[in-house]
Structure formats: C-alpha cells, structure tokens
Amino acid sequence: MTDAALPDASRLPDETAPATSAAGLIVCPRCDALYKARRPGFGELATCPRCHKVIAAPRHKAGMQIIAMSVASLIMTVGALFFPFLSIEAAGLTNAASVLDVALSFSGGVLTVLVIITAAAIVVIPALRTSLLIYVLVPLVFDRAPARHAKPAFRLAEQLRPWSMAEIFALGVAVSLVKVGDLALVAFGPAFWMFAVLVVLVLLQQRYLCSWSVWDALNTPPR
C-alpha cells in the first residue's frame, strides 16, 4: 500500500510490540505482510508493497451501484432462464434451447450430475451470489444497522465468486453457434443478449466491489 494507504513496514516493530494492539493492523491475505492500517480514501488503491496484492480499493457510491447492478443481473438471470438463447433450423425442422433445456438435456444416467453442475454454475450460484450481495449491501447503503446474518452472508458470497460462471456460459453460446453453423442455420435468441448484458454487469460488479470496504462498513455502527 504505497504511502497513500499504509506506512513503511519498517516502522512497525515498536508499534506492534504488544500483541493486543492488533486492532489497528492489517495483514496482506496473499503474503502475510503486516501493516498499520490507514483508511484509504475513495478512489485510492491500497496495495501490498511486497506482493502487490490490492487489499482495498474503495469507490465513492459503490454500494448503490453494486445494488443496482445486482438487481439488474437478477432480472437478466430469471429472463435468460426461460427465453431461448439459440435457435436452430435445418431441412424445415426447427428447435430452440433455453437454459432450462440445457439443464435438462443430460437427463439419464451419470450425466444427471452434469445437469446439476451446469445449472449450479450458470443459474443457481450467480443468482444466490447477487441475492446475498443485495441482502448485505442494502442496509449499509441506507445507513441502517447491518442485516442480521450479513457477515456469514457476505463471506459465502465471496466464496462463491469463482464458481459463478454465467460469463463463461455466454462465450460457450457463441462457440456453439459457430460449431453447428455448418450443420444447420443457427440464430441468437433473446436470452443470448441477456447473457451478454449479464457478462458486462458481472465484470463491472467485480470491479466495483471492494470487500475490505464492505467489512469496514459492516463493523462501523451506522451514523
């Protein structure tokens, strides 16, 4: 964390002598380096000088923006569930697939496990994660006391992050389109564009969400 956020590591020893003074200290989650915490301002980046991990990156009004994006992506997810994302036509026969069709396409045998994995990665986990974020952030943004289970909820949301794969699915749809392009006439359905919007929302959300700031807010009593 450059001088902007954290002081020289070299100054620390005397200040850390009693272990009970841990309150004002923060530790890089990646490399375990110890620093004296100073609250970074909006737009400032607090990075670990040793391993360059970004520890905190607060943004002004990020909470409200993340809530808005979460609500939007929930709506997109529900919509994308029922509308077809690809339609196919060959020799007068047509077929269209929605996410529900995909989830049900592996019916039978061991492939049922794949149904569960696919449905979880592209619908259940992303929807759960955005719902948890809304639950945690809404009271914070409106200066209320944190939601009752805000802490475990936010920890779960952070753990689910790598398993939320809606954006990978969107690219998969594009690849599929090319793959069957020779076999039949293929076209994007409305749900594909919802997934495309979802990808942008997910990426923006990841950029705006600073978990250090959320934990900070969850532990600061409302004014």
Binding site: C28, R50, A96, F106, K179, L183
Partner: protein, 211 residues
C-alpha cells in the same frame, strides 16, 4: 514498488499475529476466528499442500478418461460419429473453423495440462525458497486461479449442443461420458488451486533473508 520488493518484510506470523484472509484484519496468534468478519483464522494452512495434492490427483484421474471417451455423439442423415475433445477440434479444422478449434484446444487441452504442471510446480517449489522467483510464482498462481474456470467452456458447449440439436432424423447431438469426467476434472483442479495457501510462496522469502 521497487524499494521494498526484496526487503525482509515483517509478517504477521513473525510479529505473533495472525491475519484474516477474508478481511485482512490482524489478530493475536491463536485467535480461532476473526472478530470482524467471522472467518476462521489460521496463520498457515498446515494441510494446504495435502489438500492441493489430493484434489490435483483427483483432477488428473478424471482428465484421462475425459480425453479417451467421446465428448459428443453426433448423428446426421448420413452417419453417426463420436468425437473426443481433440478429435472434435481436428474435425473443426477440417471444416475450416480454425479459430474455434484453437479456442477449444486452448480451453480443453492447453489450460488443463498447463494447470496440472503449474500447480505441481507451485506445491513442490514451496520446498525450494527463492526470493527472486516469488513474484513469478505469485503471478503464476494468480493466472492459474483466474484462468482455470474458463475450461468449463467446453462442458457448456456440449450442454448447449446436446440440448439444441434435436432435429429428428436430420441431426441429433448427445453428450458423451467424457463431458462429465471433464467437468469433474475442472472442478477438482479449481479446488486444488483454491486449497493452495499463497503465503507459502512468501514465507520462504522471509526465512531465507532472515538467515
């Protein structure tokens, strides 16, 4: 940057503290869970490497059948064909879709194989301290963490094709058994990478410089 990169940094462990990996708060060593966010605290995940190797082995075991069995079973008016991951990509090249074939080959062969090698290297390298390489190892770890999930793309493509292409006698595509083992392989290697305690990369740096 620059100045403190190789300087012996004061770590939470050497100061008798333990850091929360979730919210970065420091606590006295031995504190069981973080009072700020509730996450369990561990100065170093002692079982980290065991878990890494366990998931790594499971992932590798699933990756072998994923390459031997067919990913897709395609039936058209004229013939029925079964394609493995590599076979399907070669077929795409024959049809002239070199770009897509490269995406599939990259996501399903280069990334998974590269991940197995990278994770094994990271886990083994914790025994051979190297301050000079710490940054490279950290970067490698971040790349593995970030890119690993994208291997799922081939599983999704199979899922999409299998649900979309049902055109009676004209064309029909079914998912093959390899799609399941491949998905499991991706999940297991993701778990393997997530089990790796990146602080192990940096510990050695401190130790060697202190000595």
């Amino acid at each position: 940057m620059g100045r403190s990169e190789h300087a012996p940094a004061l770590t939470a462990r050497s100061a008798g503290l333990v850091g929360c990996r979730q919210c970065a708060q420091a606590w006295p060593a031995g504190t069981p869970s973080c009072g700020r966010c509730g996450a369990p605290l561990q100065s170093r995940d002692a079982k980290s490497l065991q878990k890494v190797w366990a998931w790594w082995t499971a992932g590798l075991l699933c990756y072998i059948p994923a390459n031997l069995y067919p990913m897709l079973q395609t039936r058209t008016l004229f013939d029925t064909s079964e394609a493995t991951i590599v076979g399907g990509a070669i077929e795409l090249i024959h049809y002239g879709n070199v770009g897509i074939a490269l995406i599939i080959l990259f996501a399903s062969v280069v990334i998974p194989v590269g991940k197995f090698v990278a994770i094994a290297y990271l886990a083994l390298s914790t025994r051979h301290p190297s301050p000079a390489l710490a940054h490279h190892r950290q970067l490698l770890f971040e790349v593995v963490e970030y890119i690993g999930r994208w291997s799922m793309i081939d599983v999704f493509v199979v899922a999409i094709l299998a649900s979309l292409v049902h055109l009676g006698s004209v064309a029909d595509i079914k998912a093959g058994p390899a799609s399941l083992t491949f998905a499991l392989s991706v999940i297991f290697t993701m778990l393997s990478a997530l089990s790796f305690d990146s602080r192990l990369i940096w510990d050695q740096v401190g130790q060697q410089e202190d000595a």
